[in-house]
Symmetry: C2
Subunit: 239 residues, 2 copies
């Protein structure tokens, strides 16, 4: 089997920094975690908040702290630092090679989707962001990994796209339509969802948007780990 992570991420129109932060860390007992945070508002202030949360969570995961405990610790730290005045959403998606499971931790009102073949499950039980109070509990979903499994996670910019002109995006339908038309790789799925959202906002995204797709494929290739990052540099002197 092969595990793939794909991210597609865009800034709010006319802002130079995204308030979303996403990073990947190796787990000390085997496997990987992807940590996605969306700081309140946008621009530099929001970036500082989401970086603080991601840094805290990744530091704890790297020490072997469990995902739920890391999310609570980050919430307490944010609440203490900002006295409950600043909130931040958090998603952690972990491949735990020790247990052979995937663990999804969510402090984010935006739902997530789990797809197995034709079946697309929307996980949307009520979930509150970090930093809102002293005892914020994350929602945790854990299940065995299997070939064909796809998970789609995103920040609320995706859900809010199109609201400006009264046509908010239906993410579940968009996923179904992309998966029905083709058998996309995870990067193609993330790219298609993001492109759909951006087009609903007339190519001027009303918010930072991040889309994270995890996929398990059956696999018979080599045993090489690979990573690619692509960063457009529009704002640089030399572009």
């Amino acid at each position: 089997m092969e595990f793939q992570i794909a991210v597609a991420k865009v800034n709010k129109y006319a802002t130079s920094e995204s308030g979303d932060t996403i990073e990947v860390v190796e787990r000390p007992n085997g496997g990987l975690s992807v940590v996605l945070a969306d700081g309140q508002t946008s621009g530099r202030g929001a970036k500082a908040i989401s970086q603080l949360v991601v840094r805290k969570v990744i530091g704890l995961l790297a020490e072997g702290v469990r995902d739920g405990a890391a999310a609570r610790a980050a919430s307490d730290a944010l609440f203490t630092d900002k006295q409950g005045k600043v909130i931040c959403t958090l998603n952690i998606a972990s491949l735990d090679l020790h247990s052979g499971t995937i663990v999804l931790t969510r402090n984010n009102p935006a739902p997530l989707f789990i797809c197995r073949g034709e079946q697309i499950d929307r996980i949307d039980s009520e979930s509150i962001p970090l930093g809102t109070s002293r005892d914020v509990r994350p929602l945790i979903t854990e299940f065995q990994i299997e070939a064909g499994l796809t998970v789609v996670i995103y920040t609320d910019g995706l859900t809010h796209s199109g609201e400006r002109r009264g046509q908010p995006m239906n993410v579940g339908e968009a996923i179904r339509s992309i998966l029905e038309d083709q058998d996309p790789g995870p990067q193609a799925l993330a790219d298609s969802l993001l492109a759909h959202a951006v087009s609903l906002d007339d190519n001027r995204p009303a918010d930072d948007i991040s889309v994270l797709v995890l996929k398990f494929n059956s696999y018979t290739g080599d045993n090489v780990r690979r990573m690619t990052v692509r960063l457009p540099l529009e704002g640089t002197k030399n572009s």
Copy 2:
């Protein structure tokens, strides 16, 4: 312009963990850093060392500490922890959007290569790993970013491949031959170098090998940031 990072990474034959750790972090003042460490020996002990070093460096970079200072701090921490008995190589490659430069920090006897068109420069001035003494200085190379620029960084597993049968890999020649034959993307270049090394070791790598390629392209596409991670899961229950 577009900045691309590509990584290809394989474990020493018959070991379940690589002693190499590589991670990417966003810089607080704009840009990205890639941090690559190779812990002494192989397997679990080496992994713990390289993770400790990468974690320390990334934590400092995220606070805005400069690359050279972060490398020195990691060296001091390792020296203090292990009393000079354990060493670890370190490479940091940073895209600094504030200065429009790329900053290469090296504490690694293995050289690195900077390619501009036909010109391939080998940067091989003497450089010692972290943890060897109290005052380890990193070598730092900084230059303006420009389209077409390619940087190749690797752990010593690449250089050592083929030694077992008396045909050590000539990395510079391999890079030249790949770049002459084609205009490979960074992932294709990293993959080709790694595949060449693994074939010299008869498909049983004698050491952990990590290859990191950075490339600047002229670019007219969208302003979406993308990341893909691919992780083969040979050892899992469900594979």
